[in-house]
């Protein structure tokens, strides 16, 4: 049933597909984190026009399917700009931009939970708002956001399955290609599902450990 796993060609496809899935997810969540942080800060500090522009951005990326965004990017952006753009570059960007739309919310939430007193304390010692954000608020916000960020990672990993339908060889793309050759629907998808499952479980466990390690010492006493 699973003999296809022994075929070196299939093995290469699966490994390459898995690597593409991993690369695009990691790039997406990291770009999403950086951009999401800036969006959150803009939303907290910005004036009305800035907030409105951010809201449009966030609602676009949260309110429409990632798959449709991917199709739009791959099929319309090169036409609008009237030049060839590597589809892979577009896909990477879309994953990052999309994730930023969600992560802005996570970051805003965690920044605001630690905001008031810590900002006052930072200003009181003569630091600027930006210094206080950088040295006081964000280091705490990033610790708090780890579990939400892990969720975002899991969700984005599975969203990469859409890549197969715009012509990329991700994990699902590899599965499809193998299917076309051997027609073993159930075993192939079981293997694909298992790889996602194992990868996401391992990654989440590692993030859980990092979350515990990075916890501010003694802080659990305050939560009791």
């Amino acid at each position: 049933m699973f003999e296809f796993l022994l075929d070196p060609i299939y093995q290469t496809w699966i490994v390459q597909g898995f690597l593409l899935t991993v690369e695009i997810t990691l790039f997406g969540v990291l770009l999403g984190l950086g951009l999401g942080t800036l969006l959150a800060i803009g939303d907290i500090y910005g004036n009305k026009p800035v907030k409105a522009a951010l809201a449009v951005y966030v609602e676009f990326f949260r309110g429409s399917p990632l798959f449709v965004q991917l199709l739009l990017a791959v099929y319309t952006v090169p036409a609008i700009l009237n030049r060839q753009i590597d589809h892979l570059v577009l896909a990477f960007l879309i994953f990052g931009l999309n994730s930023a739309g969600y992560q802005k919310g996570y970051m805003k939430g965690s920044i605001e939970t630690i905001f008031g007193d810590q900002m006052q304390a930072g200003l009181s010692v003569g630091m600027t708002k930006i210094q206080t954000l950088r040295y006081v608020i964000l280091p705490q916000a990033y610790r708090i956001v780890i579990p939400s960020w892990t969720n975002e990672f899991c969700s984005l990993t599975k969203s990469t399955a859409t890549l197969a339908y715009v012509g990329f060889m991700d994990l699902v793309g590899a599965g499809r290609s193998i299917l076309i050759n051997n027609m073993q629907i159930i075993p192939v998808w079981l293997v694909v599902a298992a790889i996602y499952l194992v990868w996401i479980t391992c990654f989440s466990k590692v993030m859980d450990i990092i979350y515990e390690k990075k916890k501010i010492p003694g802080i659990e006493l305050l939560m009791q």
Binding site: Q120, S124, V125, G126, M127, P217
Partner: protein
């Protein structure tokens, strides 16, 4: 003017719907969102000379803390001027961060940086604001912690300290930059009586060294001992000012008399 380390002239500060937009911009305000208008500071003036120790007291909710935060420009006054030495802080275009670097502020609820050790809390501004090299910042931070006798907590995080230790670290953080003045907002009122003692001892040491301080506090024995002047504050205004002996023997206003009676009763009961 240069005689004074800090001077406030006719300060006004109102919270509430009327100024809610302004209050929001300051974004350090705690009372944002209050529906009714609260006049926390109404035409308050105050002068502090080098080495002065003054104590503000009065009923809670009377606006003492707001006034103190205005002095540090953590709240921006609606009207009036604040001088730090020769510099007018309420003029537009003043670098408030630079000014705040010369003012020490100690909060009622301590507000240590939660993700940093005691040492890190004191060091941060030395590194980022005074731009001291690493070693020098460390040395000065340790000196400050030694001064308030919490060196044993140097590597502890705020959540691992007692309230008294944490507040002393808060004082060290305010002290380490050698500020022109230290403003203390009820530094002991969030602590239990035993821990209050430690913090009061620290303040007593600072007083002995001639540190310029403006303290909001109800620690009457301490006030009697160290304060040159006591300021009774009620309903957004300074009601009466005088040496401690005046307040303990014969306050000239009825309101102060009433308040002192109640507070002395409470102290003796304890």
């Amino acid at each position: 003017m240069a005689d004074f380390v800090m001077e406030a002239r006719h300060i006004y500060k109102t919270y509430g719907s009327k100024n809610s937009k302004k209050a929001k911009q300051a974004d350090t305000d705690i009372c944002v969102g209050a529906k009714h208008v609260v006049e926390a500071v109404k035409d308050v003036s105050l002068q502090i000379r080098k080495g002065d120790i003054k104590l503000i007291f009065g009923p809670s909710g009377s606006g003492k803390s707001t006034f103190l935060r205005c002095l540090a420009m953590l709240d921006i006054p609606d009207k009036g001027e604040i001088y730090l030495g020769d510099e007018c802080l309420t003029k537009p275009g003043v670098d408030l961060n630079k000014a705040r670097a010369r003012i020490g502020f100690v909060f009622q609820h301590i507000y240590l940086f939660r993700h940093l050790t005691a040492l890190g809390n004191v060091e941060l501004a030395l590194r980022q604001v005074l731009k001291l090299p690493k070693e020098e910042a460390r040395k000065r931070a340790l000196d400050a912690l030694t001064e308030v006798k919490v060196t044993d907590c140097a590597n502890k995080f705020p959540a691992q300290m007692s309230g008294g230790q944490a507040q002393r670290v808060g004082i060290a953080r305010a002290l380490a930059r050698n500020p022109d003045i230290i403003l203390l907002d009820e530094p002991t009122s969030a602590l239990d009586p035993e821990l209050t003692g430690e913090v009061i001892d620290t303040l007593r040491d600072l007083a002995r060294e001639g540190t310029t301080m403006l303290i909001v506090s109800h620690e009457m024995p301490f006030a009697q001992e160290v304060a040159e002047e006591m300021i009774f504050y009620d309903e957004g205004k300074i009601v009466e000012t005088g040496p401690p002996s005046q307040f303990f023997n014969a306050p000239s206003t009825d309101r102060a008399k009433q308040f002192m009676t109640r507070i002395i009763k409470r102290t003796t009961r304890e």
